[in-house]
Symmetry: C2
Subunit: 189 residues, 2 copies
Amino acid sequence: MLRFAVLGHLATTSGKFSLSDMPGGAGRMDILCRCVNASLFLSHGMRRDVEVYLVLLGPPDPPKTVLFPGKTVRYLSPDERSSGSLIQKALAQPVSEEFRETTPGVFVRRGGLPELLAEYPFVLLDESGTDIRTVSLLPDNYLLSDHLNLNAQEVAAVAGMPVFSVGPLALHADHTLTVLLNEHDRRAA
Amino acid sequence: MLRFAVLGHLATTSGKFSLSDMPGGAGRMDILCRCVNASLFLSHGMRRDVEVYLVLLGPPDPPKTVLFPGKTVRYLSPDERSSGSLIQKALAQPVSEEFRETTPGVFVRRGGLPELLAEYPFVLLDESGTDIRTVSLLPDNYLLSDHLNLNAQEVAAVAGMPVFSVGPLALHADHTLTVLLNEHDRRAA
């Protein structure tokens, strides 16, 4: 199983956002929607062996984590509005510390980065890291940020974590996941 | 200069589509919007050396080609609605056989695949092709299709064209462009 956790520093934690204004009013939720797409879609089907954790840290009620497991998710199409709509429905539900299913195969819980770091041995994706093509055994659990750098608290939380990059240029989060998955696909082939 | 041409077999050729229904009423225009994003965006800036040609073949007035040159495009954000809105404005203008600027740095003309093939030596991106990682000198001009296979007329038009693939699995068009650009980035670094 591959796991991706994406930090949405400004991403709203209320379900009352407009699907027509995800870059603005929803705190760059569009980035997280594209990460869901990049993680889960193949040309003819879904990546059943990938889970995406969206860590939503914006107002009014942070932190919340929305989970899209490729194995279970339903009613998901590749466009941004589709994943945005499932996120919206997840955020409209009450949350507890356990993941709760909000639409078929999509889940939400109260919690953010510390909870995830306690559960899986994440590595960090960042342009400063070791090139994934040079790594003999690729990790399974990857953390990456949206358009903002890690804040001081997050930097402290990831101290000592191995860092990997997907190439010479700094890419958008979703593009980074696409390139990373290509490397995994090639090694699995 | 890198050039990508994406065939939108069902993509509307009228500007009167809804930005909230691009997968449906606009004939999978969402795919073409994601190809614009994948082609032109870096984390901190635009790919000024890439041009994307969207070949729109759907009703009511095909063929039209919308051109996004990274060098000139303005008012473009990474979300699907942003490129969708610029496509909409391009399609609302009269067309001739010459490219005409419809919003700053975005252009439209009457024409489709035959015109492009007469202008640049395109290669085809398809999962059946030669792996780009094994190619000593990468081409500059790439043709790819949306979610549909090439039709009989298109197959005839590309007969004899070199074919390249980006990996072992069939990917969405935008993911294919992202992986391809990563290979170009690595060689240019």
